[in-house]
């Protein structure tokens, strides 16, 4: 029997004051005019609650760019959902935070780009670091769960110990340290972001020591870079198995990046009930279960653990969305990943941001894009 989805991730807008070089939004972003209305979002939250969804993750773009965020939060709570806000914090005043908490916000995840201000601002393409520090102290005064998120990569992994110390001083309940995943914007910037093997090994030791030291005070969640793993990640807990993602215009996808897959049609909550999209839509059924799997996945013992890895990564690196995720050391196409790693260790790509502005490809603000 098909299980209920556990979580709903909503990109409520693609507008954002930051331009992070590894943004998880698609390269083709939705414009403000295409966004679902307040009423449409609240209806979707009710449908999600009925479908058995437990957690709602409000993300973007920058969700604070929606002026109706307070109404969205209270609508989601009324629908019985647990409400988490994933934010850069830019634009969040004390009064607005108080209103969000009053409306029922339960958990806030605040992103940092680095512990060093200049580097953080370079990655974000915005001067936001100093404000994030101030905001963290403000958040701690409210009775909500607080997580600091830091995306790590070659340019900041050498400061990981400082990043952990920074978080420790700001006092969140959790610190999430996630290695960049290479889709969309991050894939375009991969030569500047992919860490070295030495950095990866060092970071694992740094995290293990910090976990030991901070046990009971600050929980650390660490996501290793899958390019260096032996086996792929269980992307989204399996295609159409646990999660639904809505883009700003109401398209429902199994993950952040699935829009890149060719020949896929993603249904919209403006046209179909969420329940139907989850159970019946072609997109959610496309890679659900094991029928689509090629060898070596089909006969692999791990197929019920990692579900063949990530379909988007398979497509982006091999051109075939139904291939075994090439990060898997058993995949026939694993060579494409090894080649990328060899380039890093051979120094064929710059090892750090050059003194002149690096060739970052920044994510634009869709509100500011010309037609």
């Amino acid at each position: 029997m098909l299980p209920n989805p556990l979580a709903l991730i909503t990109e409520i807008t693609h507008r954002c004051p930051l331009h992070c070089v590894y943004c998880s939004n698609p390269l083709e972003m939705q414009k403000a005019a295409a966004e679902l209305s307040t009423e449409e979002w609240v209806r979707v939250f009710r449908e999600a609650g009925k479908l058995g969804v437990l957690h709602l993750h409000l993300t973007g773009g920058e969700p604070l760019a929606r002026t109706d965020l307070t109404e969205l939060i209270s609508g989601a709570r009324t629908a019985g959902l647990y409400v988490n806000l994933i934010t850069s914090g830019i634009g969040l005043s004390e009064a607005r935070l108080a209103a969000l908490v009053e409306a029922g916000l339960e958990h806030i995840q605040l992103s940092f780009q680095d512990s060093r201000e200049a580097e953080a601002n370079e990655i974000a393409g915005t001067r936001g670091h100093a404000y994030k520090l101030q905001l963290s102290r403000l958040i701690r005064q409210f009775k909500i769960a607080f997580t600091i998120n830091v995306v790590v990569h070659r340019q900041n992994l050498d400061h990981l110990a400082d990043i952990i110390t920074m978080a420790e001083e700001l006092g969140p309940d959790r610190l999430e340290i996630a290695n960049v995943q290479y889709y969309g914007w991050a894939l375009r910037n991969r030569d500047l972001l992919l860490p070295t093997r030495q950095q990866v090994e060092q970071s694992q030791q740094t995290v293990a020591a910090a976990e030991e030291r901070l046990r009971g005070r600050m929980r650390i969640d660490f996501t290793a870079p899958d390019y260096y793993a032996r086996y792929p990640k269980a992307c989204m807990g399996g295609w159409g198995r646990r999660l639904l993602l809505l883009d700003p215009a109401g398209q429902v996808l199994p993950c952040h990046a699935a829009g890149v897959l060719p020949g896929m049609r993603f249904d919209n909550v403006r046209e179909h009930p969420l329940d139907w999209i989850w159970r019946e839509s072609a997109a959610f059924q496309r890679f659900r279960g094991e029928d689509w799997m090629p060898e070596p996945c089909r006969s692999c013992e791990r197929r019920t653990e990692d579900f063949g890895g990530c379909r988007c990564q398979a497509f982006l690196l091999t051109g075939d969305a139904a291939a075994t995720d090439p990060v898997c050391t058993l995949a026939p196409t694993h060579g494409v990943v090894e080649q990328a790693l060899n380039q890093i260790s051979a120094g064929a790509v710059p090892s750090s941001i050059p003194p002149v502005p690096a060739n970052w490809i920044y994510r634009p603000n869709p509100g500011a894009m010309s037609e």
């Binding site: 437990l54 957690h55 019985g80 647990y82 339960e106 909500i144 769960a145 607080f146 309940d173 009971g216």
Partner: protein, 92 residues
């Protein structure tokens, strides 16, 4: 990690709450997930109200489960609360 002080008063951490999902089943919601607890786990956690001390929770559990050895119940409550604190679900 020291065992919780018998006089401390455990309570649910910020961002953690009970929820009745789909009508009947009571779940503990927290930022990364939800726990469906039954039996003693649920009985202990339901007593983490910021009013009762660890000692009181142990006493109440002992009164309820008269057959249990007193030392074992104390140890189990303590271990359970410690693991929930590490998950940032309980504060004391």
């Amino acid at each position: 990690m020291p065992a919780p002080d018998p006089n401390s008063k455990p309570r649910l951490a910020a961002g953690c709450r009970w929820a009745e999902a789909n009508g009947s089943e009571r779940m503990l919601m927290f930022p990364e997930g939800a726990l469906r607890l039954q039996g003693t786990g649920r009985e202990i956690l339901e007593r983490c109200d910021g009013q009762r001390s660890v000692q009181q929770i142990v006493d109440e559990m002992q009164a309820q489960y008269k057959t249990g050895e007193s030392g074992r119940i104390e140890q189990e409550v303590s271990k359970f609360l410690e693991s929930l604190q590490q998950k940032r679900i309980v504060d004391f």
